[in-house]
Amino acid sequence: MDLITFGVQLLNAVQYGTVLFLVASGLTLVFGILGVINLAHGAFYMLGAYLAYWLTLVTGSFALAMLGGVTIAFIAGMLLETMFVRLLYGRDHLAQVLLSFGLILVIDEVRQLLFGKDVHAVAPPAWLSGSIQLTDNLSYSVYRLAICIFCLCVAVAIFLVISRTKIGMIVRAGAENREMARVLGIKFDRVNRYVFAVGIALAALGGIVIAPISTVFPGMGDGMLILSFVVIVLGGIGSVAGAAVGALLIGLTDTFGKVFFPSASSILIYVLMAAVLIWRPSGILGRPNA
């Protein structure tokens, strides 16, 4: 394999990893801060993709679709938190799994009612739709490059918000020691609602950016949900930095696994997960007692 091909495969791995990070970071935020296992996370990823399809059709602009899709997901997240998810705080995981599984069924029915069962294609914005010629027969889609850059920006933004802002401080305080933070006068009702809504919006955003290269189909969230769980277990539950490391590792393993060990590629990421968990049972960046 020559250097350029290797570079392109590396790019493939990073692109795959960054989208995975987007979705997994939402999942790990909700779990790390609210303590809620949200199995419906993948369903919101799918819903994001369908919203991208529908809004591009209606508005004719992918950028507007992106904005609209994220906004709708955010509002849906706020409503869901107010109506259902708040009942789950402090409950055992079985209740959380049951409720979020119910949500999957409901979201899937809603999707069926609104958008039907068909496979849809979404066009990327015109100025991102070309490809860059690398060698005479190797080119790379501009949109995939744009996804890489966009997702990296979102990742940096998440880190900055969590580590540098007052909101981030409150969120961290809530995750570390909720009782103490409450004594200091922080109103967690509202914080919880925003955190959940942001988590859902991140899942939908993942679905929106992937729509133009993946097509939109029922059940597209299932595989993504499983991968997201692998990412956060690998990186350390509740750690956003861990999700970044985990997502990148999975991107690399999957891409180079397919190239060098095609027959074993489907199990390689699970082998990786097992190996990491033997070495660090709480994940790469997880706290041992978390």
């Binding site: 394999m1 020559d2 091909t5 392109v8 495969q9 493939n12 791995a13 692109q15 795959y16 069962k117 068909d118 496979v119 849809h120 294609a121 066009a123 490809s131 010629q133 027969n137 190797l138 080119s139 790379y140 889609s141 949109y143 995939r144 290269i213 993946s214 097509t215 189909f217 029922p218 059940g219 597209m220 595989g223 999957d254 891409t255 180079f256 397919k258 190239v259 095609p262 027959s263 590629s265 489907s266």
Partner: protein
Amino acid sequence: MAIDDFMRPLSRRGLLSGAAGAATLAAAGPFRSAAFAQNAPLKVGMMLPYTGTFAKLGQFIDDGFRLYVEQKGGKLGGREIAFVQVDDESKPEAATDNMNRLVGREKADVVVGTVHSGVAMAMVKVARDTKTLLIIPNAGANDATGPACAPNIFRTSFSNWQSTYPMGKVMADAGIKNVVTISWRYTAGAEMVGAFAENFTKNGGKVLADLTVPFPEVEFQALITQIATLKPDAVFSFFAGGGAVKFVKDYAAAGLNKTIPLYGAGFLTDGTIEAQGAAADGIKTTLHYADNLDNPANLAFLKAFKAKTGKDGDIYAVQGYDAAALLDIGLTAVGGDFTARDKMLAAMGAAKIDSPRGPLSFNKAHNPIQNIYLREVRNGRNELVSIAQANVDDPARGCKIS
């Protein structure tokens, strides 16, 4: 219908007359069935995916079948047809139960199904055990008309082997020396790619690499980069549904469609072509149907299907339509007497159908003998290029019927 129609309370008179009617029917029941056994409707069990990934395919098969029955005035071979429907959801784990329910509790005389090969193989097993007449209107698993063949099992679609074998020669004849194949790593993928490779290597071609991804994964980017570095003369692929849409778009986005021509099984562009858009232009595939087949049967079929459903008929609708035509031939041969089973099965086995897809007959394993067409995607349609191979007969390896 207004909501009142549902809400209106039942009047006492209505209740009484209803009860009287029901009582009469119940009393007359035994006599009726004894006197008119021959004329009781034949029960056709439709076991198809009405929900899930293959829902659209199942609906088209169902519509096609019912269209034929309607055209015959609701009767096949003079016998009234009644339907009972089961949604198989393309779930192999529930297939045996669903099939047993149709055969056992619903007492279906004939079962028509299904799309998913795994589900179909479970249905084949039950049909063999219970001797129920089964007509498969889509699933292509080679085994169904191979080792698992039986006198009471027919297929009106294709075998996986059949749909891609002719492509081996087509590509070799086009001067293509070496190819890369790419597919999902499951039975249909292996059977379709295998049949293509069998004929391609026989005609002097070479397969550089056989790339696969686990079913139903859709992240192909790494393998597409791999294809670019291997630089084959062409690529042969099999994907279907959402996976096919994504593969074709990824292939075009990587710019490969300009340098390495893409070939495939017909399912790559059938039912997916609209979502693929311009990315599908120029893809050549083989299948037992093409959108613009210019024969009278196809033109009449497309017109009638459009009139009934408002949709454009496709290969799935044709396969359902032909399933009804095949049953019609069997029932006509025995004057609607379903008990004259051997005579009916013999007539079905010898059937020659003027199908919308062209001439259709059956081999000893009850797999179709049919033309396989070479099609090319032009202007969002799978347009006919030529007959890749006429009257293709599946070898039915392992079938013990003689």
